[in-house]
């Protein structure tokens, strides 16, 4: 067990790497939500403009 310290660091590295990847996936999901909201806002603006012109 001379190199057990390396295993300890590997374990902690897995924890941080896993957390980082999860947060990255979550960030992507939030970004796609933002894009959908922007798209929705544009469509709503279009509908409102059409209603006013009628």
């Amino acid at each position: 067990m001379d190199n057990a310290l390396e295993f300890m660091f590997a374990g902690f590295a897995v924890f941080w790497a896993g957390l980082f990847v999860y947060l990255l996936i979550l960030q992507q999901r939030i970004r796609s939500l933002n894009e959908q909201i922007l798209l929705l806002r544009e469509r709503l603006k279009g509908i409102t403009l059409n209603d006013n012109s009628d």
């Binding site: 067990m1 896993g18 509908i47």
Partner: protein, 247 residues
């Protein structure tokens, strides 16, 4: 009696409302402090185990991840059951979010366990009852998320099918928990959740901090992820309504 009830409710609102409004500030701050305390405790403050050496410090990630994953999957199971009863899709958002976090924690438990096992057992993996049932849990909830992702955010049928998987999958957890009693396994017996924990007090304190850290991290991430899923549902619904208006 009624006035006492109202006062208690008012006090509750007075205390809980500001807490709820500032959740996106409070939760990350508490989580950061607890995770830093856990790391310092695990790597520096906790005593070095005589037989296993420094690699035993992985216990401070491995054990809380494994136990709190049961809680996350428990939330999935309860939310799935409620969804099956009342059909309200925000329960699906909660179930999905907690299943994702549960999977992350199970991944931590499996991978840190494998890394811990190599210097102690001489192997990364063995088809031991505890390890195998935990892997089965990981696969069940991976399939839960796969089933759920077959439909879009507002697909009620996909949500119901996934809820059945989420509910049945929870049956694996008692199997994991009692596997060390029912079968002869390489995995050690329970050392924390026992009548008399067999850990020294210093290690128990650091383990307690580690539990707090993982728990606050999980609460924060479940809340963030469930809110995102719920907003996806709402945006999808609004988009559908607009499609109808335009056509």
């Amino acid at each position: 009696m009624t006035s006492i009830k109202i006062t208690i409710l008012e006090l509750g609102n007075w205390f809980l409302q500001p807490l709820w409004h500032s959740r996106w500030i409070i939760l990350p701050v508490i989580t950061s402090i607890c995770v830093m305390a856990m790391l310092i405790g695990a790597v520096i403050a906790a005593p070095r185990e005589i037989i296993e050496g420094d690699v035993q410090r992985l216990m401070y990630i491995h054990v809380p991840s494994a136990i709190i994953s049961y809680l996350a999957f428990g939330i999935t199971a309860v939310a799935s059951a409620i969804l099956l009863i009342n059909g309200k899709l925000y329960w699906d958002a909660i179930a999905r979010a907690s299943a994702g976090i549960g999977l992350l924690l199970t991944f931590f438990a499996l991978s840190t366990g494998a890394i811990w096992g190599k210097p102690i057992w001489g192997i990364y993996w063995t088809w031991d009852a505890r390890l195998t049932t935990t892997l089965v849990l990981f696969l069940i909830y991976s399939s839960y998320l796969l089933v759920r992702n077959l439909g879009n955010a507002n697909d009620t049928r996909a949500a119901r099918y996934a809820a059945i998987v989420g509910l049945i999958g929870y049956l694996d957890i008692p199997l994991i928990h009692f596997s060390v009693d029912w079968w002869r396994t390489l995995h050690p017996q329970r050392i924390v959740f026992d009548i008399r924990p067999s850990l020294p007090t210093e290690m128990l304190i650091v383990l307690g901090i580690a539990f707090l850290a993982v728990l606050s991290l999980v609460l924060w991430l479940i809340l963030l992820s469930a809110t995102t899923e719920y907003l996806h549902q709402q945006v999808g619904k609004l988009s559908g309504d607009l499609d109808q208006m335009e056509s």
